[in-house]
């Protein structure tokens, strides 16, 4: 197989804010590449630049220096509509607070990105139901967000992120609002999707979450601190261990 185009490729990517109190360099010349099929955790304390990095590769913000290619497209050349199209077709977002529309059911929530892709209503419904089935919520398609648990809401959000078959799933603290058991379920889902070929970037400050990635990128003070590969913890196995009535060790997820 010839070398695939990296999903993300940055060179000297920088973001400087001009504030009243002076210039703040939120991201300082970061160069890295994320290949298709990777499961990457982006780590760092708050103010480290990881959120800025995520906003830039998520096409929610524009760099003030350097280059960023998403699936081979140089985003710094795109206008607002161009960035919107990249977000729509090549990226799928998962947020800490789920961000589901409260007035409509799970199916319509999942279908939302397809609305902006100009897909007709029938196809939208079909594909939304398929995406919900993929995250294990087929029978909850017509529940509203308030009728779903936190974990189920996050699954709906993941289905929404997947529905346009993006090149990259970008999750910002996806387990931050969930209890540890539900968090494991969600991480297990990410791992499963990754095994099926979806490239996933998890942005987190939580080392426990990062353990489930095969590659960990750390930021500090706007700079790339480290980029390491590791053996990922298996969330499914950890869950199975939790469910076992036997006196298992309290530190869940060590089973590998």
């Amino acid at each position: 197989m010839e070398a695939a185009i990296p999903v993300i490729e940055t060179r000297d990517l920088s973001r400087v804010y001009d504030l009243d109190s002076g210039r703040v360099t939120a991201l300082d010349r970061v160069s890295l590449a994320i290949e298709p099929g990777e499961l990457v955790a982006v780590m760092g304390p708050s103010g480290s630049g990881k959120s800025t990095f995520m906003n830039l590769i998520g096409c929610l913000d524009r760099p003030t220096g350097g280059h960023c290619r998403i699936d081979g497209v140089a985003v710094e050349t795109l206008d607002g509509d161009g960035l919107a199209a990249i977000r729509n077709r090549k990226l799928g977002f998962v947020f800490q607070q789920f961000n589901l529309l409260p007035r409509v059911d799970a199916c319509d929530n999942v279908a939302l990105p397809m609305v902006y892709a100009g897909i007709d209503g029938r196809t939208r419904r079909m594909r939304a139901l398929a995406a919900l089935a993929r995250v294990g919520l087929a029978e909850r398609a017509h529940h509203r967000p308030v009728q779903l648990s936190g974990g189920q809401q996050q699954r709906v959000a993941i289905a929404r992120a997947l529905v346009n078959a993006p090149r990259l799933l970008l999750a910002d603290e996806p387990t931050g609002a969930l209890d540890s058991r539900t968090a494991l379920e969600i991480l297990g889902l990410f791992q499963e999707l990754n095994r099926d070929g979806v490239t996933v970037v998890l942005v987190t400050h939580d080392a426990e979450v990062a353990r489930h990635a095969r590659r960990v990128i750390r930021f500090r003070d706007g700079r790339l601190l480290s980029d390491t590969r590791q053996e990922a913890a298996d969330a499914r196995a950890a869950l199975a261990a939790l469910d076992k009535p036997a006196p298992a060790p309290a530190t869940a997820g060590v089973a590998a």
Binding site: A84, P113, Y116, G121
Partner: protein
Amino acid sequence: MSLLEAVRSALSAIGANALRSALTMLGIIIGVAAVIAMVAIGSGARERVTSQIKSLGANLAIIQSGNVTQGGVRLGAGASSTLTDEDSRAILKEVEDVVAAAPVIVTRAQAIFAGSNWSTQITATDLDFFTAREWSIGEGRLFEPEELRRGEIVAVIGQTVARNLFGDTDPIDQQFRIRNVPFKVIGVMAPKGQSALGQDQDDVIFVPLDTGRRRIVGRNYARDASVQTIMVKFASEEAINPGIEQIRALLRQRHRLGDEQDDDFAVRNLTEIANTATQAATTLSWLLAAVAGVSLLVGGIGIMNIMLVSVTERTREIGLRLAVGARQRDILAQFLIEATTLATIGGAVGIALGVAAALSIASIAGWPSVVSVDTILIAVGVSGMIGVFFGFYPARQAARLDPIEALRRE
């Protein structure tokens, strides 16, 4: 997203805050209803004035005798009978563009028929009067020239007199008395309705000029063939003012007035008076429409206000939509459609209320109801435009949100 889907989603957003949306719409409802009702009232009033003017007859001038000075006391118009039949004939013959000139003597008298009596206006005139007033006969016939010349004791009566004096009896060929003179009814005029001053124009009895002069009014007029007024009809509106000047010159000459003497008659341009009345009615309807327009404006501002609140409340939703690929114009369109839907629903309800109000006011005031399709279309258009206009600023605020900021907002 198709427009239909966009409207459906706007409706669901509007329905999510039903009470708030209803209150917001109330502004537009009141505004649109006020515009429709006020415009209907204004044009109803104008229509009434116009129909009254039409009933008067177009391009008319009235010459009143009098305005004489006796020993330094100016007696005003009608104080003395200075006009004559001859003046009337001379005007018809010598002044340009005069279509008809009718000498008129008016008095009030009691008419008696069998067991009933009725006080009414007696108008003694000739056939030119009916030409000038554009008034046609309803039943029977008008005077024959021979009857006019010989001063025969015949009468043509108005609808009100026919009803009040004769009741169910067919008045044609009946005899009735005015001041003990037995008149024969030869015709009943077509109905004419109210005059611009609110007078019932059908409450009248017409008699030949000479008959009236000799049999009803009395000696004064009989002696010198004088008349009270001469009604003149011109061929066109433009001919009136030059015609009036010619009449003035002609009458001064005929009455042998010196340069230093005042006119012993007065000429009034009725069309001018009518036009002034129409203008006043038009001004009134504009005024009403403007007041109603202000309330529509206030309704629009209400929509803008609520849309701004809505944008603030739904900042996260906007952020999410941007994150999943909505372009700025998608967000702009979403909120514009929402504002327009709000305004249009309000407009529709307002139209229903406004039409109902206009119809009931018209029926109470006895006016022609003039709720035109135009007004309704304009009201729909205007309320839609209000949605777009007052929705634009909030929608643009929404579209310009920074997705990162918007997603972070609680």
